[in-house]
Symmetry: C2
Subunit: 437 residues, 2 copies
């Protein structure tokens, strides 16, 4: 048995009472949290643990990135600040250039960034998702991974809806993994028809896996469903019986009051990607209102071509400010509510709150340490505000997933950054050549 | 004579052509940039320089923080997410607790944070500004500093408008300093009457110093001028003849089209503090429109109680996203425009573009290096986008002001962080005791 002890820090448990333990410690056996309490007490009770010094910082649950496309890191800063980027830039680029190697290298780069920023779990949908899964295992992260399904040729399928067969194989391969939860990822309402969506829903129920989908994100999507059906995309999906508690819908920026009632009725989760949405000049999703209606919400970075940053601290920060401005009320979207979205609510939104999202006995040890002894974090009267309004991803000094330390003192322990940089550099040259030709 | 050479990096000059020099070098003699060019060429021409290795990163002008209250760092994370924070929380707190020591300690903490984040020049208005000036000298930064003037008792004046006399002494004391530009700071339209504002304007013209003022920031400010004069605050200031090119107006969030015309006509500069304004749920200033009208604009953090972060990378990032959402257009408020606001346009807005804001021969050597060999910055197809959408303040690895290196490899060279932390900790206890009693 392997025991670890994280000590000498303030524990933000994010449990139901949002209990904060100053001068606390956590005992971890293998992958599980087995005791939480006063530092002195636990240090005198447990011996022969591997000791992890919190150095007076904040000890808290790892962040949950509810929506991303990790492999797109290799396209970051290409075609910035241009209109209709998805159809004019991203789709053509992907069609020509995405292969297994690009997916692996991009995924690795993103996971390095996420681990350094305290993200312990992420939800991904892209192509060649099996490669993403392999890299996730290598890096030691926890993830929900879904192959994208589209009504057209994709990088890894010559026929439309080829992602469905890929998904079935992928799900069967990874279903029993301890850290990877396979899913199925119909790309969006405008790239999947009703018939195939229902087929996907059947598969998700047969295998008991989540459905990942972009939802109510695009202006042309709203326009099209209005013209074709006189409905919002969410009303349409409800009318065909697609919506269910397995659906994790990303974005939902055009959500109407009626849409919110539908989402709630069907127990659909929403992932808010404010950093990416704002960069695309989209409306800001009514997250404060969704939370008041008790809709399950998490937050995500979206792909690094859209959101660039891949850390959840930055997303929490943007969530508070955009909601406050949206509603004209500085007292809403508090720092605490942001940390909830980045941890326990995010875990609930992706169906994992029984095992992660808070520091509680019996849960998996997905834990991070934030250094508070830095000019941007001092003084610290309010831990949540300190994190959300003042911290940078670089203030995270330890990241543990499933009881395993993946990063300590800003050094990644499961990979060599220099190898990643070499591979990224090679891929960059390939991408630049392809664009030029 | 002391020569320095910054080499081995990509230089974003931010000169009029926005020239970018890959594999460039900069030669600095004492405080001045004397040559800029190809790395190999300059290395063969100059010997016996102190060498500063850019390590393949970005070499660019230091950032300009156009509006802040550095000493308020000691109040950071107090009373977050509460309504009417200024009048219910900040003013009473300041009245009871602000003294010379608090001003010094808070200023030092903020300057440490700014130097670590690549800020080389800041504009400050607060109380005991002479203490801020002394700390600024000690830390080696460049600053425009203005004592606040209010129509009421303040921490350093028992009588209303005591800041005016303080300002005259302060200006006379610092007028000839190489790094500090004294100014006068009428706090706001709602804390200064017209008569005193005109007196302040006379002083500013007599001594040839800038006027720093909060402008069109508060909902109650707009309401009051509408009720009393049927005017906006900016229309009122125009009507009494207060506006002039010496005025640097912070915030301007409620600016109307007519206000913009007035600002332009009078050559008033605007400092945009989006991070602080958004956290206060205020409207987002129409900066894109101001820039189209050729109004001089810079960006700032505001005080660390309002904006928390004291780095300009974070403000540039928020500027782009809030403007894109405000105008519903992802192609505006580009990454380049953000870097312009953080450097050369910021310098122009505070009247210092003749000596700083770009890397040009003859200008002062206020230069930073940004490390690009980090997971969040790779790959880098577009330098401006990489900085604005992807960088953290912690990616800055060298900060030079007036030819002097203030930070290298994340280590501050002009102060001991541990001393600052000790002082901050003592002040925190004092503040907590005062709040409790």
């Amino acid at each position: 048995m392997s025991y670890k002890c994280i000590y000498n820090g303030t524990i933000l448990t994010m449990n139901e009472d949002r209990h904060i333990i100053e001068k606390g410690a956590i005992i971890i056996r293998d992958r599980e949290i087995i005791e939480i309490g006063d530092c002195k007490e636990l240090l005198s009770k447990y011996h022969d643990c591997e000791m992890i010094d919190g150095k007076g910082g904040i000890i808290m649950p790892g962040f949950i990135n509810g929506h991303c496309h990790v492999s797109m890191s290799l396209f970051r800063t290409l075609g910035e600040d241009v209109p209709d980027r998805l159809r004019k830039y991203i789709f053509p680029l992907e069609e020509n250039i995405v292969d297994e190697k690009l997916v692996r290298v991009g995924a690795k780069l993103s996971m390095a960034e996420m681990i350094l920023g305290g993200v312990t779990t992420f939800v991904d949908m892209y192509y060649y998702e099996d490669e993403v899964a392999k890299v996730t295992k290598e890096m030691g992260m926890r993830a929900i991974l879904g192959e994208s399904v589209l009504n057209k040729k994709t990088p890894d399928s010559h026929k439309p809806y080829g992602g469905i067969d890929y998904s079935i194989n992928f799900i069967e391969k990874w279903k029993k993994d301890d850290l990877i939860i396979p899913a199925i990822g119909p790309h969006a309402t405008y790239t999947n028809d009703g018939e195939h969506l229902l087929k996907i829903k059947d598969i998700a129920h047969k295998y008991d896996v989540p459905i990942l989908m972009h939802l109510s994100e695009m202006d042309f999507e709203i326009e099209r469903f209005k013209n074709e059906y006189g409905k919002t995309p969410i009303e349409y999906l409800d009318s065909i019986g697609f919506l269910c508690e397995k659906l994790i819908g990303a974005h939902c920026v055009y959500t109407t009051d009626n849409d919110m009632e539908i989402l709630k009725k069907n127990r659909v989760s929403v992932i808010h990607n404010v950093g990416a949405n704002a960069k695309s000049a989209r409306p800001i999703a009514p997250i404060h209102r969704m939370l008041k209606k008790d809709i399950s919400v998490g937050i995500g970075t979206d792909g690094p071509m859209s959101g660039n940053h891949q850390d959840i601290i930055s997303v929490m920060h943007q969530y508070t400010k955009f909601q406050k401005v949206r509603e004209g009320d500085r007292s809403i979207a508090s720092a605490l509510s942001a940390v909830e979205l980045g941890t326990i609510r995010g875990a609930k939104a992706i169906g994992l709150d029984k095992i992660i999202g808070s520091i509680e006995v019996g849960k998996r040890a997905d834990i991070i340490i934030i250094d508070t002894n830095t000019p941007n974090m001092l003084p610290l009267y309010d831990y949540y505000a300190g994190i959300v309004y003042g911290a940078y991803a670089s203030n995270v000094t330890m990241t543990m997933v499933n009881g395993k330390v993946l990063m300590k003192d800003r050094k990644l322990l499961t990979t060599e950054l220099s190898h990643i940089y070499d591979e990224v550099s090679q891929m960059k040259d390939i991408i630049l050549n392809m664009i030029k030709s």
